[in-house]
């Protein structure tokens, strides 16, 4: 090998090594931080893992919102019109949170099958339905028919 080629080889090897480390680390970070989405039915059927951060979505069941008188704890039920799952959240709910509204809760499912949310998301636009919810709803309606 000529010295020039040798130099090139070293540069290329360094590049390959550097970029594969970067990609590897990035994918690792990505895998650590993705949250899967589960519908109410998937959770009640036991398809959702316990104690892993995830997202649950659905419509807030009318009349299911209960507030604690002492703290900021609030509980409500989420439905995909087939099954319901209970969600407990401590904190301030977003402005667009309402009964009958589609929301997404982020948190963990505890051993009793109650979803312990640390974040509740509702959207800017009240006609807007998160794509995840829209799709599970569509499936439910198709099955019902």
């Amino acid at each position: 090998m000529t010295p020039k080629r040798k130099k090139r080889l070293i540069i290329i090897l360094a590049l390959v090594f550097g970029s594969s480390t970067a990609i590897g680390l990035t994918l690792f970070a990505l895998n650590q931080n993705i949250n899967f989405f589960y519908s109410a039915s998937q959770i009640t059927n036991g398809d959702a893992p316990k104690n892993i951060r995830m997202r649950a979505g659905g419509m807030v069941v009318e009349g299911s919102v209960e507030r604690s008188t002492e703290s900021l704890q609030v509980s409500f039920k989420l439905t995909d019109y087939a099954n319901q799952v209970k969600v407990v959240f401590t904190g301030i709910l977003p402005d667009l949170f309402r009964e009958g509204q589609g929301i997404i809760a982020q948190g963990k499912l505890d051993a009793n099958g109650i979803f312990q949310a640390d974040e509740v998301l509702a959207k800017h636009d009240e006609n807007y339905m998160p794509p995840e919810i829209a799709e599970t709803m569509k499936k439910k309606i198709e099955v019902a028919q």
């Binding site: 949250n35 989405f37 008188t69 900021l72 904190g91 709910l93 636009d125 339905m129």
Partner: protein, 645 residues
């Protein structure tokens, strides 16, 4: 009648854009000056008719013409006049019209301020911009015309503008952001024109540089405004959420920043010629991708509009055509470009290369995190979302490394610098910044904090190396004033923009580490202590606004017995939309913000409320830094060498 005039002008501007896309370009092929000269009048016409169209829409809003569907959906007779105007870009159709209008504004500006440009080059640039305009105006007309009527029966009153958008931030944020997004179309058009002509030389870089800098400055300003708006209006005190739509604006900014730097190297030293072209293509493609992500509703985002898939498909086709077309052109033409200039590994060129690598890697990681949910879903891997921890984990370390290189770059000269000279310049600043970084967390906080150490050290590092370089400029001159006025605007712009990065870095570090926050239940008379301040809740009263009524809370803030502020956060009920809005109240200053927001009433009588109280040190620095960067970017354009000829 007026909306029809608007629609008709839109159709005319589409026709003119189509001619603009074709005639001047054909003129360059057959070398016919007359055909090339058609570009300017066509641009004028396109701008005129798009202005008429925009004014017609504005007029429909001001006179409450609810027979126009877009007006009925986004306005109301009760809406204050300034929000009626800003409602033009409050929804999908109108914001696209603004997009097209700004595009034609940029095209007009290029045709006016590029007298120095050879005729054929100008013809190509304007033609490429005409092509983009055709795509967007066609999109407007065929899928989302803002002038469609509610027929046969229209509503008596409008549905009102989304309350979140009834705010000063939303009057200025979208136009600013679009100025940036669309501004990159100029850099893109210059790149395509250069590829078409095969003349990729330093003069190409000089022509395209001021445009790129302005676009970059506007985009940065737009992102800053968006972050500020989210902070007080939407985010309960958050200033960045790694939301897909925020990412969509950050990616072109990152690539644009790389482009601004590599253009400098191309202009000054004739290096990275084909890389610069590629960056220009990517910056604009990412702007288009951003538009696609926001408009198609494919991603779950706070900004997502309820929109139909047909629109998404249209933009996707547009995206594929422009990216595919320009990359194909690049593939054929770029190999002919030769960079003849040489540079060593210890030169400013090398440092700019490092900067570019870091910035593109950052843009790629953000892109990956943003599109990964789409990708996985398409492959049948289930519905997922990527959380902020991913972005923080990959973004922050690279940002730190880049700041390190940014400080060091001040010691590097073009072409070649001796490593010994670099070490000689840099060791003192390095030592000083490490010491300051080490001491700072003990003085400001309660003890050692690693991230504060890193953040403050890096900030001091950049400031000190930059000051050394600045002082070095005065070594051999007698009169300071003379020297100060002799330094170019570009140089001051660079200093200001780099200083902006430092200010943002300090802000991010301190607000992330030292923020304090409490959510709690408060009744009248309740007191709570946070960061040395005592907040006393004095209950709520009902107040009325133009189109809302609100519960207004009163909180007295005292420190050491002294009254600091009276804060009046509101919970508003917008009567038409029947929606709730939280209006936070903030006591701001340069060193800390006291942020109070009302959650919801916790009992029927409305005595007890959920209240969020936050202490945010140095949060203003985030936007101050963004402002400095914007000013820096604009200042470079005032440089003398762009005004010659």
């Amino acid at each position: 009648m007026i909306p029809e005039i608007g629609e008709f002008s839109l159709i005319l501007s589409l026709c003119l854009s189509a001619l603009l896309a074709f005639i001047p370009l054909y003129g360059t092929i057959i070398s016919n000056q007359l055909w090339m000269n058609y570009a300017k009048p066509l641009v004028n016409g396109q701008f005129l008719f798009l202005s008429i169209s925009l004014i017609c829409l504005g007029y429909s809003f001001t006179v409450d013409d609810f027979s126009v569907a877009y007006v009925a959906n986004n306005s109301n007779s009760q809406l204050p006049i300034q929000f009626k105007i800003s409602a033009i870009w409050g929804g999908h159709e109108g914001s696209l019209l603004l997009w097209a209008f700004i595009l034609s504004g940029w095209t007009l500006a290029v045709s006016i301020f590029s007298r120095a440009l050879p005729l054929d080059m100008l013809a190509r640039v304007l033609a490429v911009m005409g092509m983009i305009a055709v795509g967007f105006i066609a999109f407007l007309l065929f899928t989302s015309s803002p002038f469609s009527r509610y027929l046969p029966q229209f509503p008596a009153d409008g549905k009102d503008l989304n309350p979140l958008l009834q705010d000063f931030g939303l009057i200025v944020h979208p136009p600013m952001l679009y100025m940036g997004y669309v501004g990159f179309s100029v850099a893109f058009s210059f790149a395509i024109a250069a590829l078409l002509s095969g003349r990729l030389d330093a003069s190409w870089a000089r022509w395209s540089r001021p445009w790129t800098n302005i676009a970059w400055a506007f985009l940065g300003g737009g992102i800053t405004l968006g972050s500020w708006w989210a902070y007080y209006e939407l985010g309960w005190g958050g200033w960045w959420f790694w939301d897909p739509v925020e990412n969509a604006s950050l990616m072109p900014w990152l690539v644009g920043t790389a482009l601004v730097h590599s253009l400098a190297a191309t202009e000054k030293r004739g290096v990275f010629k084909s890389w610069t072209v590629l960056l220009a293509i990517f910056a604009f493609s990412l702007s288009l991708l951003g538009t696609f992500l926001v408009r198609s509703g494919v991603l779950t985002s706070v900004h997502a509009f309820a929109s139909d898939p047909e629109r998404g498909l249209f933009i996707l086709v547009l995206l594929c055509l422009s990216i595919g077309g320009s990359l194909t052109l690049y593939a054929f033409k770029a190999p002919n470009v030769k960079s003849d200039a040489q540079f060593s590994t210890t030169s400013r060129e090398a440092l700019i290369l490092i900067n570019n690598v870091f910035l593109t890697v950052m843009a790629m990681t953000v892109l990956l995190g943003t599109l990964y949910p789409l990708l996985l879903d398409a492959l049948g891997g289930g519905k997922i979302s990527v959380g902020p921890p991913y972005f923080n984990a990959v973004f922050v370390p690279i940002m730190g490394l880049m700041t390190l290189a940014m400080g060091a770059s001040m010691a590097f000269r073009w072409r070649q610098t001796s490593p010994l000279a670099i070490v000689k310049i840099l060791w003192k600043p390095l030592l000083i910044s490490l010491i300051i970084g080490l001491i700072f967390p003990f003085i400001y906080g309660d003890g050692f904090e690693f991230s504060v150490f890193i953040g403050i050290s890096l900030s001091c590092w950049v400031i000190s190396t930059m000051s050394l370089e600045f002082i070095g400029k005065f070594q051999h001159s007698k009169s300071y004033w003379e020297r100060l006025t002799k330094l170019s605007f570009s140089y001051y712009g660079m200093i200001l923009a780099h200083l902006g990065i430092v200010v943002v870095a300090i802000g991010i570090t301190l607000v992330s580490v030292y923020s304090q926050e409490r959510d709690m239940r408060m009744e009248k008379g309740d007191k709570v202590e946070l960061a040395g301040y005592i907040f006393e809740f004095r209950g709520t009263k009902i107040v009325k606004g133009a189109n809302y009524s609100a519960d207004q809370g009163t909180l007295l803030v005292t420190k050491d017995g002294e009254l600091i502020a009276e804060l009046n956060p509101e919970k508003r009920r917008y009567t038409v939309k029947r929606s709730m809005m939280t209006e936070a109240d903030i006591d701001p200053n340069l060193w800390r913000d006291l942020y109070v927001a009302l959650g919801e009433p916790l009992d029927k009588e409305g005595n007890a409320w959920a209240v969020r109280i936050q202490y945010k040190p140095f949060v203003r620095w985030l936007w101050l830094g963004g402002l400095l960067m914007t000013l820096g970017g604009l200042l470079t354009v005032a440089d003398k060498r762009y005004r010659k000829n």
